[in-house]
Amino acid sequence: MSGGAWLIAVAAVPLAAAVAALLAGRRGAAAAGLLGSLLGTVAVLGLAAAVLDGGVQEVLMGGWAAPLGIALRADGLATAMLLMTAIVGSGIALYAWRYFGAAHATGAHESPAPPHDVRAGRPETTTDRPDWLFWPVWLLAWGALNALYLSGDLFNLYVTLELLGLAAVALVALAGAGAAAAALRYLLLALLGSMLYILGVELLYAAYQTLDLQQLRARVQPSLSAGLAAALMTTGLLVKTAVFPLHFWLPPAHGAAPAPVSAALSALVVKAGFYLLARLWLDLFGALPWQAGPVLLGVLGCGAVLWGGVQALRQQRLKPMIAYSTVAQLGYLLIALPLAGQGAGGAAAGALTAAVLLAASHAAAKASMFLCAGSLLAAYGHDRIAALAGFGARLPLTATAFALAALSLVGLPPTGGFVGKYLLVEAAVRAGAWGTVAVVLAGSLLSAMFLFHALSRAFVEGGEPPPGGAVPRAPTAPQLVSLALALLAVGLALVGGPLAALLATGVAP
């Protein structure tokens, strides 16, 4: 297949699978979802091979050139994001298959979660749960993500972003009535973010008569409308990406969802906003003398790292803690933007590599960690950190996965998170940004504090088994998936070199 065919396949396969899953209904949805994951991953791998081999891939839908037609375009950055989404997403799908499947099979015997934990866990009624809807909705979200990464113009980005937001809200709402408030808040904020973004897009269109990123980049000049557009679009994206101080919707939404959903949202969906911010400030406005924009983003990133870390430290329950860790980790990605935008040759490329490597490591590690939380919830019936005594002996696979994922999130060797953090610190030192260096190091110490605190529970002697006899067990197969994802986060330590080469593909001169 040619690169163009792979491009179309990448965009189309998840959407087709979503439709198939919806038509297949309760019984066949999982099969459609797994098949879709497999084919979608194959398509992304094919595309990545084409990009590595032949540079940037582009397809004009229906043969119409921009600004009339729709262009699909895959450069190095987009390919890296697609790969991350496909691989981590497939892992999440595998987990979901066993997780929801097991819930159906054993639902009748499962001990209901204590009432105050309903928000954290799976809904207690199992008979008419719409669990299977996870599949079409997740595939839709994946399709939206793929289309977003491949879009070359601002309006398509808006459409895909909106689609992604709606799918994500639906995913949160899957948790049932307990999650309704979180889902509603998420919906309203997602809409607000999109509205701000589209306002900015319209301003740009009015000024330059095109929405194609390449054309806009060539035409855009420093002006009031461009500045206003940049501000509106950035603010909208900040809301959607849950950047500090607009992050407040994320912890309840991610903490309330079922484990695979939390994993998908935290690991993959929020990265779309970061990707767009990077596109805007490195690509579209990258040539303009607006250094203040990326610098402001960097400052917000620093705030996010510290605030997210402190908040995570204060959490008593596992899932909200992991969710706050996402707030902090998104901060690292933003910190890299001003460093990547300064155009100082090696340092800038290093910062972009750092950001993408950190994003990918976070995706793998955070997905693994939320999935671990799901297994712990199944075994303990709650996720209060203080009461997870002895989970190392009880769930050794999960404990291993949790430990490796934690190492990557803190940025300790031998993990992808470590190499990413090393690169980020190196870029900051080269740029002389000592404040940034201090924040990055302080942030990793904060992460270490809350993650090692949770991890140390694994070594405490297990408490009394819960009253009522049978100890609930977490099935093994999903735990293997979370371990595989954690190992992926470790293995990412080795991809720095190839990733740097990939990201150099299609960089705007």
Partner: protein, 498 residues
């Protein structure tokens, strides 16, 4: 000479792979676990001996993996790495036997031995690290794999000790990361070099280099337990005795001291460090640590705590030797790296034997213990006399070279520190020996388990072996292949024309 790249990797893997398998073993597979452990330990020893014999004569050993352009992981066998590697490989065998005996019926043994093996792999990585980045990576890994051993018992005290360990090591790791990145930005990719590699980059950057030195020393000084960065070490005493032995003699503290030696000699170069003026503060810190550690040891009644403060003091002999310019002093520092390990492991094994056999944890309970456990106490006596510096035990050789080196460099105050410390050593060790050998037992032992005359063979043989080593390296110090001989080899590498 041909370069063989798989051997250094195999040295690390020989404990890593058994460790990973051991994690997966069920608790009751005791003999398989022990077999795996010993097979790994034996394999590592063989690889190390092969390298010792061949290196620089028939073959070179270097493995290189590019993580990023300009950022390599390098494992390389040179004189330094082989010295540390031989020590840790040898002591790993002994400690494994001891640990198998010590933990006979305790829970979570698979987890324990898994992390134990990872710990030794990380130490091998530190020994073989060919550049600062690799050293840092394995140093951090060592922190991480030791933490589960410190909190192994899962008690609140163990968890608190683990927390304290992380509170010292993780921030120092962050500082080290910054220092390693700074060095990389300053010099580009550089491997460790005899005589150091920073001198050509010094123009107009003296202040920055002093900062870099300080950051590296503080970072590595935490594991080497330099005062005031030593607080975690006495608290980590709650861990089981084999872990203490590992922390104090084989891996952790040693890794810190070894890393400091690498920084002083192979990054900065001792002569360049002297011109920067950073050696005097380092020597002062080491001297303070030596005296303070000995002073605190005096007041400890708990045997393991007394030994822990003794370690704080003794490890800084190495740092002190490194901070005094001159080949004789360097010889003393290098040789003490080995000697301290052998003597301290003997002392900790003995303490473990007392605790396991008789339930004796405190110095005040040791009256007459020499008659109850004569072999263990004999070993303890060898270690204690060595620490004081009585000939012909190994510690005497170290102190001799350190003192002669200080005299050669004209730093007479160092001799004063050594003398004061020896006096304090005698003050906290001799009363123990007196109690053990010359006082009658005060009644029944707190918790008697042993049936025979002394500890179980699995506990006794290792301690007798290490006591013999401690004597042997002292008596045969002048022989070829002794640690002292090897230290002279290292000195030739570091001093031009030396």
């Amino acid at each position: 000479m041909t370069n063989v790249s798989w051997v250094p990797v195999a040295v690390v893997a020989s404990s890593l792979l058994p460790g990973l398998v051991i994690f997966a073993l069920p608790e009751h597979r005791r003999s398989l676990r022990t077999a795996l452990n010993l097979a790994g330990a034996a394999a590592k020893l063989v690889f190390v001996l092969v390298m010792l014999w061949n290196v620089g004569r028939f073959q070179d050993y270097e493995a290189r993996l590019a993580l990023l352009p300009g950022l390599d992981l390098v494992l390389r066998a040179d004189e330094w790495s082989l010295l540390f590697l031989t020590l840790s490989a040898l002591l790993w065998v002994v400690t494994t036997v001891y640990a198998v005996g010590y933990l006979e019926d305790s829970p979570h043994r698979s987890r324990f031995f898994g992390f134990f093996s990872l710990c030794v792999s990380a130490t091998a990585g530190i020994a073989l690290a060919g550049n600062l980045f690799t050293l840092f990576v394995f140093y951090e890994i060592l922190t991480l794999v030791t933490y589960p051993l410190v909190i192994h018992r899962g008690t609140p005290a163990a968890l608190a000790a683990g927390r304290s360990y992380l509170m010292y090591t993780l921030p120092s790791g962050a500082l080290l990361l910054l220092a390693v990145v700074g060095a990389q930005v300053l010099t580009g990719p550089q491997d460790f070099t005899g005589g150091g590699y920073l001198k050509p980059f010094a123009d107009g950057r003296a202040g920055m280099l002093v900062l870099l030195f300080a950051a590296l020393i503080i970072g590595f000084g935490v594991k080497a337990a330099l005062v005031p960065l030593h607080g975690w070490l006495p608290r980590a005493m709650v861990a089981p005795a084999p872990v203490s032995a590992l922390l104090h003699a084989v891996a952790v503290v040693k890794a810190g001291a070894f890393a400091i030696l690498r920084v002083v000699y192979e990054v900065f170069g001792i002569e360049f460090a002297a011109t920067l003026g950073v050696l005097t503060p380092l020597a002062a810190a080491a001297a303070l640590t030596i005296v303070y550690g000995s002073w605190r040891a005096l007041a400890q009644d708990e045997l393991k705590k007394r030994l822990a403060y003794s370690t704080v003091s003794q490890v800084s002999y190495i740092v002190l030797g490194a901070a005094v310019l001159g080949p004789v002093s360097t010889t003393g520092a290098v040789v003490h790296l080995v000697h301290q390990g052998l003597m301290k492991i003997t002392l900790f094994f003995s303490a473990g034997n007392y605790a396991e056999t008789l339930g004796v944890h405190h110095v005040s309970e040791m009256d007459g213990i020499g008659r109850r456990m004569p072999l263990t106490t004999a070993a303890f006596t060898v270690g204690a006399l060595g620490m004081i510096g009585v000939p012909p035990v190994a510690g005497f050789v170290s102190k001799l070279y350190l003192g002669a080196g200080a005299a050669q460099a004209g730093q007479w105050w160092v001799i004063g520190v050594l003398a004061l410390s020896s006096l304090l050593n005698a003050l906290y060790f001799l009363p123990i020996l007196h109690r053990a050998w010359f006082r009658p037992a005060r009644g029944p032992w707190p918790e008697e388990h042993g049936r025979g005359l002394d500890a179980r063979p699995m506990l006794l043989v290792p301690v007798l072996l290490t006591a013999l080593f401690s004597l042997g390296v002292g008596v045969f110090a002048a022989m070829p292949w002794s640690p002292l001989d090897w230290a002279r080899l290292i000195v030739r590498r570091e001093y031009v024309g030396g």
